[in-house]
Symmetry: C2
Subunit: 232 residues, 2 copies
């Protein structure tokens, strides 16, 4: 584990073990350096990580404070699509419906910023959270960027594979949410009646160059999913 | 307008006028300083603002690039609850149902971190987007922090009033989303049949001290609302 992630984990453990409430003041920047015996930049990166996770907040000239999630059982909306990491205690698993190479529809080509001649990996999966159906996911990967996927890889976190095996990291993402009743095709996958309420999230993930490499259409099971979002 | 916001606006206008695509390279940091004749820190703040709005992305050692929203008609999920600002071209309006001082329920007291003896302003409004019903909002403000609200103030952006009149600025927020069919009480306000799908968002806004001052329960009209979320 990278040093700054290790320090971030230690600070989180401290918050947990001491059961510090929202707004509790943490040791100062200088105290953290001396406690953990690491460089300034390691502490800076550790704090930035914790801030973006919503575990702390920093007030300039005042200090570092605990930020607590009030509600358990909610999924982080900023969580990455590949999602076996950062699940905060949940067990996620998947069932593959199919993996194939397709030529993109207009919608896929437009979101992946490619032509209809480009090849695209298409993965359809049911995702489970603690054994319950979480969502139905159709995910499309540009073959020019992700040259190889197989059934084994896509059973697990595809993003984790892409990052560790190919060294490709998502730089940023766009997510689009809307509510729409379930249609007859999708309903059986979620084990719900047609017309049940459903949250649909479309996601596009980009490389640091601004090129999109993944587009996903995800339909969430309305009684098995709830989300949180922390803003600064 | 603050200098850095002015510069941010100019850079956004440049992107719009030149119709720059996603990934187009913008002038370098140094070029921006010399073009706009402002300080380093002004450009830094302008770029940070544009990055957090999702208008640009910065790649260390490589440059500053255009980030474009692909879909129009989506509401920013990071938008503040008070929301007459940052609506990206929409016209928002509201109809007040009631404003009163109440003693908090358990749910309100827990979210506002106060006792059941504390007084709380309760505002119930229907919000409209371009004349169509957007959502039903029940919002609770701690009277110890927001000592005065009246019917005129709450017709408009309450957060704008709080910031300009009281100098109180939200430092961060927690939002919780879940899907639930509309109940009989809420459905008429949204002009929808009971049991229609609905996105429910609970929001808590905090001061820089970590103290919550506002808790809102918002129910969105499922055909009049769609959302986007940009992550870095």
């Amino acid at each position: 584990m990278l040093k700054y992630l290790e320090i971030a984990k230690k600070i989180e453990e401290k918050i947990q073990i001491e059961n510090l409430p929202q707004g509790a003041k943490l040791p100062s920047f200088e105290e953290l350096i001396s406690t953990y015996q690491v460089s300034k930049s390691t502490i800076t990166k550790a704090l930035a990580t914790l801030e973006s996770k919503g575990s702390i907040f920093q007030v300039r000239g005042s200090g570092i404070f605990v930020r607590r999630k009030k509600r358990k059982g909610y999924i982080n909306l900023h969580m990455q699509q590949g999602f076996t990491q950062d699940t905060e205690g949940y067990k996620l698993s998947s069932k593959l419906i199919w993996l194939k190479i397709i030529t993109p529809t207009d919608e896929i080509a437009s979101n992946l910023n490619c032509t209809k001649e480009d090849e695209v990996y298409a993965v359809k999966r049911i995702m489970y959270i603690d054994g319950k159906i979480l969502c139905l996911e159709e995910s499309f990967y540009k073959k020019s960027i992700i040259p190889y996927l197989n059934n084994e890889i896509v059973q697990d976190s595809i993003f984790y594979y892409i990052e560790t095996a190919l060294g490709i990291k998502a730089s940023f993402s766009d997510k689009y949410l809307h509510i729409q009743p379930l249609n007859e095709d999708d309903a059986p996958y979620l084990d719900l009646p047609s017309n049940s309420p459903a949250l649909h999230i479309d996601e596009v993930y980009f490389l640091t160059t601004g090129e999109p490499f993944n587009f996903s259409k995800i339909i969430y099971h309305y009684t098995h999913s709830q989300f949180f979002l922390q803003s600064n």
